[in-house]
């Protein structure tokens, strides 16, 4: 089977190109799985620490520990930098996105514990830069929005778990307002980012659960003619006896 050598060479080149593409894709998928795992573990860690944290400064400490753990993710992204250089990021976006969104979820949870607010797009991008200040890859608004949208689910768990702890009822109310604002703010982005629709449905469910919890607290407190804090103190004393 003789083939003109120029055709042969061209197809040899294609073979290398395709093999390189598939190999790189595999490496990025694997790295992305690792990133997802670290991020999920960080979220559990943050829940654990936040639950034990009695006050704001303890929550700041919790956040710091979580952020430290997330530097492992940042290192992985630094390693992937060359694979994603130039126009390559967009070629592998679908492989990189899932892990990235999980990372953003974890990062925004840590940020919330420290600042009580939503991490900005610029702040997320800033964590994905080398020492030279150059971004490892461009952060899409879509990944940012989808990542922080997942935060609302974790905040629901945070609010429910903390319910019986000192100050938990107040925190549930605060979280309720924060999540409600998220839902309201994200709403107008849904025409632009298709998957955000589904996430908003989940956010609505989480919000409803937080509202129900806050409602329960208010209803019970309202039955007595005493300030909520005083009622809390009474309960705590009874339990301690």
């Amino acid at each position: 089977m003789s083939m003109s050598s120029s055709i042969h060479n061209q197809f040899l080149l294609f073979r290398d190109l395709l093999d390189d593409y598939h190999d790189r894709r595999e490496r990025l998928i694997k790295a992305s799985r690792d990133i997802t795992n670290i991020s999920k573990k960080t979220i559990f860690l943050l829940h654990r620490l936040a639950l034990e944290a009695q006050d704001a400064s303890a929550r700041v400490d919790a956040s710091k520990i979580g952020l430290k753990k997330l530097t492992e993710v940042q290192e992985l992204y630094a390693d992937m930098r060359d694979e994603l250089a130039g126009d390559q990021y967009w070629r592998y976006e679908r492989q990189v996105s899932p892990g990235l969104q999980e990372y953003i979820e974890a990062l925004s949870f840590a940020h919330f514990l420290e600042h009580g607010g939503l991490i900005t797009y610029e702040q997320v991008q800033a964590t994905l830069c080398g020492a030279d200040g150059i971004a490892f890859f461009p952060l899409t608004i879509s990944d940012y929005l989808l990542g922080v949208s997942d935060l609302t689910g974790e905040l629901m768990r945070f609010a429910i778990s903390g319910f019986g702890r000192p100050g938990g009822r107040t925190r549930a109310l605060e979280t309720c307002i924060f999540v409600r604002n998220c839902k309201s703010d994200f709403e107008r982005f849904t025409p632009y980012v298709w998957e955000l629709h589904k996430k908003q449905v989940v956010t609505a469910q989480s919000l409803s659960k937080i509202e129900d919890a806050a409602y329960t607290a208010v209803v019970r407190t309202s039955e007595f003619d005493l300030p909520a804090e005083m009622l809390d103190d009474i309960v705590n004393q009874t339990v301690l006896i």
């Binding site: 307002i177 409600r180 309201s184 709403e187 025409p191 509202e211 208010v218 209803v219 309202s222």
Partner: protein
Amino acid sequence: MDSQTLANLHQLLDQESDLREKIRDQVNDFDKKTRILVGILSKIHSTRSESIPSLIQTARPVLYSCSETIVELASLIPPNQFWRWKDMWCNSLRTAVFAAALFEYLTNGILISLESTSNVLGMQDRWKDRVNLSAEDYLHGLITMVNELSRLAVNAVILGDFEQPLKISAFVKDIFSGFSMLNLKNDTLRRRFDSLKYDVKKIEEVVYDVSLRKLVSKDSSFQAVKPTSNES
């Protein structure tokens, strides 16, 4: 195919394709407006009764601006082709109906009629073969409103307003019993009607909580479960 037939078909299909593009643009616009509306309206859950009017004041211009899009749609749709294209905008339209119905409840405490909703949205009778508000879309909008009101009952209590749940209960039960009478063959509407049952239950539980704890007067509490008078 002779060239005349071909040219005609060509033109027909191209027109259709162009028209679809133009409608899509309007629908995108409509969608953006209704999303903004939903964003604003979601703030009712953290707004005290006394500030609700000013919140609605903020949202009203957005709702009214929907009628501009509807005018545009009416000018695009060819005569008699309402049923051909309506699926493209029905989601946005239902959201607009939801907003109009919620406004009416929050402002006057009553249920907006299909006709009034048409008016609010700027529908004109002479377009009815091109753009109009179908019973189905109207009913979908109402169900969305009830879904929202069941959350409002909960959130009003959080804000210390114990009367709102009673009002909502009376209002929603009325709507619910209206729906119960209808012969809903339509599958989606039927399924969403089932969601109404949960809303009614949820609201009853809120009324229960405030009644049990005597956070409202016995009378108003009784009203909440007794909307229709001369029965049994």
